[in-house]
């Protein structure tokens, strides 16, 4: 455990270190990569609450990622065209302000997670995996054929949204902002894990019957976890859209949901920093391997397979596990 804490600190500091070194060497693209890794990590940290602590294998978290993205895309596009968004009952002004967009993204994805969770949590196991996948596919196909915001072509936002006091167009400042968000969320997630709620959720995962005998409702615990989890992934979606200055239905695809799971398992399931390690490693592999060969996905597949089969507990598990023997 001691060793894992050291490892976590190192990993966590590696991201800003890469960004700062990149700044010194004038390699802005490395900062972009680090930002991408941090945002994907944030999305997977969200999923990790449901999956790692709650045992809810959701293959539909791309719904929340996509909703966060479109919250940004729709608000910013209305601000860009100066045409307010008319929802019938009330009218919303578009905005280019990140805090407002973030709140909207969190609210919309939490609402969606509440509705999906109410229905999906009636099932368990493989059926839960598949019903979340079904919701993901619904959103995906709806967005492809819905012409108002670009359909499959997606929606371009030409200038990154603004945050008070920062120039978000500068890669390092945007990275700093994303990293700060990730740090705050990790801090909150750490608190949640150790809180009575987190402990109860863990109990409900390991032994639902025992949780019920002490008066806990596994359904409600899981629903709350699913909503928080969806909200965090939604926030990551809004940031991801701002990184690319572009949103499209691929944010809703099942491959996206699959990748979040890959990050968690790659890093080490049920560990606070697992998704961070997994996402960083995945972005790094993607970047390095794609230059090696036209058939680089074969190598990526082989590495994933190796980790699943032989490095149980993911990368953190493998490293920290060895430490346990020494100490």
């Amino acid at each position: 455990m001691q060793r894992e804490a050291v490892l976590n600190t190192l990993v966590f500091l590696a991201l800003p270190a890469v960004a700062v070194i990149a700044l010194v060497l004038d390699e802005p693209f490395a900062i972009t990569l680090a930002t991408r890794a941090a945002i994907l990590a944030l999305a997977a940290v969200g999923l990790n609450l449901a999956l790692g602590l709650g045992g809810l294998v959701s293959l539909g978290h791309a719904v929340f990622f996509g909703l966060g993205g479109y919250a940004m895309g729709i608000l910013a596009s209305h601000a860009q065209s100066y045409a307010p968004l008319d929802l019938g009952l009330f009218v919303i002004e578009g905005t280019k302000s990140m805090p407002v967009i973030w709140l909207t993204a969190v609210f919309v994805s939490a609402l969606a997670a509440l509705l999906i969770g109410l229905l999906a949590l009636r099932t368990a196991g493989v059926y839960f995996i598949m019903i979340t996948l079904a919701f993901g596919q619904m959103f995906y196909y709806f967005n492809i054929s819905w012409p108002a915001y670009g359909g499959e072509d997606g929606l371009s936002i030409y200038v990154r949204n603004s945050f008070p006091g920062l120039n978000t167009l500068d890669p390092i400042q945007f990275f700093g902002l994303v990293f700060a968000v990730l740090a705050v969320v990790l801090l909150i997630m750490g608190r949640i894990e150790r809180s009575p709620f987190g402990l109860a959720l863990g109990t409900a995962r390991q032994n639902a019957a025992r949780a019920e005998t002490v008066g806990l409702s596994p359904f409600h615990l899981r629903l709350v976890a699913f909503v928080i989890s969806g909200a965090v992934t939604g926030l990551a979606g809004a940031l991801f859209a701002d990184l690319n200055r572009f949103v499209s239905p691929t944010m809703f695809s099942w491959q996206m949901s699959g990748e979040f799971i890959v990050f968690i398992v790659l890093g080490g399931i049920g560990r606070l920093f697992g998704p961070v390690v997994g996402a960083c490693l995945f972005v790094l592999l993607e970047h390095l391997l794609s230059g090696v060969s036209e058939f680089w996905l074969i190598y990526l597949g082989a590495i994933l397979l190796f980790v699943v089969l032989f490095a149980r507990g993911g990368v953190i598990g493998a490293l920290a596990g060895r430490g346990a023997h020494h100490g």
Binding site: T32, Y141, I144, E152, G154, Y158, S248, S290, E294, W296
Partner: protein
């Protein structure tokens, strides 16, 4: 092997160019892995053939996996880290919409070797964006004109996504006659039994459809087995060399519109077909021809102007002073092509299923969005 040799040649050329300091650095983002890789590989190979041995051009190639977010990330890499002057290579409209506006806004040139979403031709046009392929509606507008003369009602079918709706809109814009029905299918649909039954039951005299790639292969094979004998036509994307082999005899007789064909009798085209076949061991497709023309255009501009002088380089591109394998080629006011579009027919040459030109569908065709473009 041949690709590696070419790449090596390009790298050697790149070293030479570095010494001269007036070379053009080109970033190509295209689809090289996964299901849609055939198109990207054709564009890349055509482009490489055109710039083979050219010392002025240094090339960086990356695979976008057909994912918009990866394409955006690669574009950032090309611009921030590789510091390229010109970008090219994107196959799909949705990826182009994700990359092109940001690239041109940062002062880079973008040459589109495939795809021309209407937004980039009209209000979103840019002085640094040159489309060397077609505006999305072009082939179907030409088909609409060409089919207007022939009597009869037309049954329209396309996948339900923006490019499908654009192409059908293009057809309806120029078609003088009656539309029997208009059907939109799921993107990626593989079984068309239900739609074919509707075609059989409708009073349409012919079918006009847009189903790119695998969707078109599935539809044509199933249509041939259904016994419905209404003539079919569509834009070239469902009848191109890369997929005709997979459709086989079922495609013979189908009409399709394109700006190029391997039997097009213009200077240089026969040489291009022969060289492409010799280099890669397969026949070129329209995508290969577009990649080749993009390479030629770039080489022509690089020979005339220094890319660091953006205005001069832009003017050199705009002249389009190269011998296109399509024959006549020039840029309209919105930097989109003005070109002839031909009607082709799928035929069998011995064992080979391929296209031949049967007529001209539109002469000096340009797109209708130019009016919205303030260049």
């Amino acid at each position: 092997m041949t690709f590696k040799q070419l790449l090596a040649a390009t790298c050697v050329a790149a070293l030479g160019a570095g010494a001269q300091a007036d070379g053009v650095k080109v970033g190509m983002i295209t689809t090289l892995s996964g299901g849609g890789a055939g198109l990207g590989i054709d564009v890349r190979d055509g482009f490489l053939l055109a710039v083979k041995g050219n010392d002025d051009i240094e090339l960086v190639i990356e695979d976008d996996q057909r994912k918009p977010d990866i394409a955006v990330q690669l574009a950032d890499k090309m611009i921030q880290s590789e510091k390229v002057d010109v970008m090219t290579g994107i196959i799909w409209s949705n990826l182009a919409m994700a990359v092109v506006p940001a690239a041109t806004a940062q002062g880079k040139f973008y040459l589109s070797p495939n795809a021309g979403p209407s937004a980039l031709a009209g209000k979103g046009c840019h002085q640094n964006y040159f489309n060397v392929s077609w505006q999305n509606d072009a082939f179907s507008e030409a088909a609409g004109t060409a089919l207007s003369g022939e009597a009869g009602k037309v049954f329209l079918m396309a996948p339900n996504y923006p490019a499908g709706q654009d192409i059908m809109a293009g057809f309806k814009r120029t078609f003088q006659g009656e539309i029997a029905a208009e059907v939109y299918t799921k993107l990626g649909q593989t079984d068309y039994a239900a739609e074919i039954a509707q075609m059989r039951a409708s009073d349409a005299d012919q079918i006009y459809f847009f189903l790119p790639g695998g969707m078109g292969i599935s539809f044509m094979k199933q249509y041939a087995g259904s016994g419905v004998d209404k003539p079919v036509s569509g834009p070239a994307f469902s009848f191109d060399q890369g997929i005709l082999g997979a459709i086989g005899d079922a495609a013979v007789g189908a009409k399709n519109t394109a700006h190029w064909s391997k039997d097009l009798d213009v200077p240089g085209n026969a040489d291009f077909v022969e060289a492409f076949q010799a280099e890669y061991g397969r026949l070129p497709s329209i995508y290969a021809a577009q990649g080749f023309d993009t390479g030629l255009l770039l080489a022509s501009a690089a020979a005339k102007a220094d890319v660091d002088d953006a205005d001069a380089f832009r003017a050199a591109l705009k002249e389009a002073d190269f011998q296109s394998v399509r024959g006549k080629f020039s840029f309209g006011a919105n930097n989109h092509p003005v070109q002839d579009i031909y009607m082709r027919e799928v035929i069998k040459e011995g064992d080979l299923v391929t296209n031949r030109i049967v007529g001209t569908a539109a002469t000096d065709h340009s797109d209708p969005y130019a009016a919205d473009c303030k260049l």
